[in-house]
Symmetry: C2
Subunit: 654 residues, 2 copies
Amino acid sequence: MRTPSIPVKFDPAKLRESLDGRWGEVRDRVRGVLENESLPAGDGLDTESHRAHTFEQLRRLADSEIVRVGFPVEYGGSGDRGGSVVAMEMLAGNLSLMVKSGVQWGLFGGAVTALGTERHHEKHLRSIMDLSEPGCFAMTETGHGSDVQHLGTTAVYDPATAEFVVHTPDESARKDYIGNAARDGRTAAVFAQLYTPTADGGTANHGVHALLVPLRDEAGEPLPGVSISDCGRKAGLNGVDNGRISFDRVRVPREALLNRYGDVAEDGSYSSPIEGVNKRFFTMLGTLITGRVSVAGTAGAATKLALEIALRYGDARRQFTNPRTGGETPVLDYLAHQRKLLPALATSYALHFAQEELVATLHDLRQASPEDDPEGRAQRELESRAAGLKAVTTWHATRTIQDCREACGGSGYLTENQLTGLKADTDVFTTFEGDNTVLLQLVAKGLLTDYREGFDELGTLGMARYVADQFVGTVIERTAARSLIQRLVDASPGRDDEDALFDRGWQLRLFEDRERHVLDGVARRLRRAGSGDNDPFEVFNDAQDHVLRAARVHIDRIVLEAFVAGIERCTDPAVAEMLERLCDLYVLCNIEADRGWFLEHERISPRRSKAVTEAVNALCKGLRPHAVELITAFGIPRQWLRAPIATGAQPGTG
Amino acid sequence: MRTPSIPVKFDPAKLRESLDGRWGEVRDRVRGVLENESLPAGDGLDTESHRAHTFEQLRRLADSEIVRVGFPVEYGGSGDRGGSVVAMEMLAGNLSLMVKSGVQWGLFGGAVTALGTERHHEKHLRSIMDLSEPGCFAMTETGHGSDVQHLGTTAVYDPATAEFVVHTPDESARKDYIGNAARDGRTAAVFAQLYTPTADGGTANHGVHALLVPLRDEAGEPLPGVSISDCGRKAGLNGVDNGRISFDRVRVPREALLNRYGDVAEDGSYSSPIEGVNKRFFTMLGTLITGRVSVAGTAGAATKLALEIALRYGDARRQFTNPRTGGETPVLDYLAHQRKLLPALATSYALHFAQEELVATLHDLRQASPEDDPEGRAQRELESRAAGLKAVTTWHATRTIQDCREACGGSGYLTENQLTGLKADTDVFTTFEGDNTVLLQLVAKGLLTDYREGFDELGTLGMARYVADQFVGTVIERTAARSLIQRLVDASPGRDDEDALFDRGWQLRLFEDRERHVLDGVARRLRRAGSGDNDPFEVFNDAQDHVLRAARVHIDRIVLEAFVAGIERCTDPAVAEMLERLCDLYVLCNIEADRGWFLEHERISPRRSKAVTEAVNALCKGLRPHAVELITAFGIPRQWLRAPIATGAQPGTG
């Protein structure tokens, strides 16, 4: 086997340019902000001090470039939705600050912007931006985290006073884990089942809507009827004050309803531009996906920071004498160490380009007029991709940061070396803003139904029967660099020589074929089992691993396509060649990890399977000398890199 | 495929008896101690309070059953080496306390017991047991963690005063991460290169030895020449005061040398019952493996506690409505949730029996007279197994506790629900008491050389060439229940029917065959590459993944044998049947995870490989109703289970 060549040198500035991509200018502006503003993480502090420290930092960010970029131009923002995601992820070295910012400006500010109308914008956006109105995004409840459609909080309209009565009927309906609630929040966007009176004296439910509910008075005391308790200490993110909120028949004016997608007139009559409770609910949720995309971006950035620490340490740290040279060997020279870190580096590259693609789609779709997407298909596909990439990227973060910690041994366990903080802070990313398993299920459902219908449930309801009705066969739709990918695939019909492993066309075909096969298999299985009298829950549940797998391999393919597209955009030959090798490593590690499936389905021979492992080892060896340069190219702001083991301040790592 | 039957009910007390095993009585005594003594973990506390809290708890344990069990009978102990490991792991609900106890009584007390002679025992053991002499185990240095043979600290004998001069020559030789150092330690067992003067005015090095060096005076101030600094905050275990110690020509009397394996006479002449610096060093290290075995035991116990929390939550927590029943579904009913937790439960069972086997071997070998093991083969095999099981069990802990956290969603992220503390505290287990990767390499080396020679280096030195000389072919030596295993293997020659998956003989043969094949392959590869002029480092390094794999599959086989032996000891038919199914799940998950290898080497057909996945799913479904009972059977002391999500105190989990 001949491993393709790895450039001896390349221009790091050109690589940075490729990685910075379309929002390079925003990245540079944020780097500028962060050069002039020291915002150290508060890892050593007790809970109250950490919260105060973070809130104070939030004040310093208020109205800065980082905040403004995402808000509407009319209110002093740049209206740059993509830029806002990119800007936020650059806070990855202080994740309490990032999450607290995300709650205030992303979730709370985003809900007011997207679900509210002019009256809310006029009244709230300026005070949200300048932090004079700290707010909460009160969606999750103790009893309902993943299944938000069945929230228990109620908002019942009372025509006598033209008010809504917001109420927590039981303990499982209390709002839970709400950021900004325990200490700082003054107002909350509360998601509740909306009820209006009917002619016969009953009430009609219109599904989940959001209302702005004041939480605290000027002195910071909870208002009458509002009970707030503290979620207390968490694994990480202790600069964020998560709390629980209950409402005891709290009255808010009719205008508190964020009424873009559903409104109640003074007489209590309900109106909405969207027919159907489910469709309306998912339309509203859809406007809020920026938060999910931000989590993916931040998880990716935190992973890069962790990798930079571990790779710098591995490059400098020496252990065990090489008998031939007499010197001690840098630990990154060991194959086992390379295996721990370099595939993760390649995956970080792949996910970086996939995230860029996602952010661009998010940004452009917002710009497009609704007529371009009358059935909402593009929007639903975007939501699916955001869900899938969030799951894959946050799992990648959890695994990689763990591996980085281990790769730094005892040093990695010390708080001063940052890895433990990164691990603890990002840990919740796999389950917040949507539990990863639930999100992958959402992706699978979109694939199986070809996005043909609004998601009626996030769960398993009727899934099997539904699929039986809907599925007509898999069409692989390419998501990026379509014509290039077609050319590459066409150029490698049935290649079977030794070097095919490194042929991008062969790799692409393999990923596409896997996706098609898995998806067809799931659909056939659900249809067969779902057509009789079988319990639909059982049918679906027995296939759940298969369903999740379909989502996973779909996302793998999309990520690969984004990587290919990213390389295509690169104009520097040496940089492009380096990216090609990183892409090879990403693909071949993916195949290696999944070789059980490829062998089971006779997609690769046992001989080729072994060759994949050899190729991964060869790529690790070849890329190792460039490892530090390759991770540094991401341009993580320098103030975040303070671990003594990564800056040479620790003895023996200089 | 016909899945073997799962008993509808069984007697939990009988299962507990099987699991408690040979040291059941010790376990019950410790449970008694822990019923009468509340020892809550100090997770919410700041560092200094947490340390004070833990030291105070240590005082309450001093001289208790938990401490006494491991010390010599002459000093009031029970001299029960196996019992001491079992007793210590039962502190798993308060890991700072466990590790601090392990440092004081296991490592420090163990070093004095094993490396010292009567004069040290008389002077120190009582004060160590009753905690009036808190101590440190000062081995690791900043520059040398894994490669302890090349420690930089020196102890030079000065015949003029009959003293040793203990010295830290440079910053990389400072003692680092030393438990008990930053706050409480009064004395340290310091590992240093021992030098004596030679006739020609030079010095001779006798390799690493340990000496007792006083650190602090009665007032707690460091003694002259001793510099101590604080490692500061860590991911977890913040009740343990890790510190860094440097010595500036500190003089200690000649008698401070722990002189069981090497002594210096007043005139400076060196003597030792063991020839050769390396052999002596590894003999000394070998006496200290109890610490490593304890880490494995504790990691196992912490994993069980985490699983108990996650399984109780999964059993009670409901999410998403089942359209047929109208009720919400307990999350543990979902296949994906079962897949996350039940294979880990089965692996915990497997590792539990393997740990019991290891503890028994450790215990019995200590009892045996040296004539029974003249070449130290049994001792080295024990060390190898301890190393391998420590690696596998601590990785299992890291992965499983992570999965448990995710399986509990946002609740799992709250400190009150314990999982974050368990995760953070156990995280360092994969790299302390030996880095797992280095340990697996040690295992592989033992296999390749058939334990025929003392381990000359833990590293890679000359490994390739060495193997080329030594390896004569693999012999699988069964480690437990030998005749039963032989019968099972004999009874399944070349079975190839559908139900073979559940045939223990078929499973055992598959594991043995894999081990043999991998090991033969590594040996051939190293011999081939090592015979020419190739750089031995390169040769070895290129094969490192292969080498580590050999160790891993060896340990897998040993674990399976221990499980089989454990089932054989069980006399209750229903309990035995339950254990058989858990063993099936352990084996089949292992095969599934490694099916890439089995398919590559045509050990299983693609069709059978798919059947393995089906069998795993079927076993998960079958075992699910018993999950809570099965995890509770381990008898983790009830005071450790306080997570509101596991005790029904959280709404919706009652």
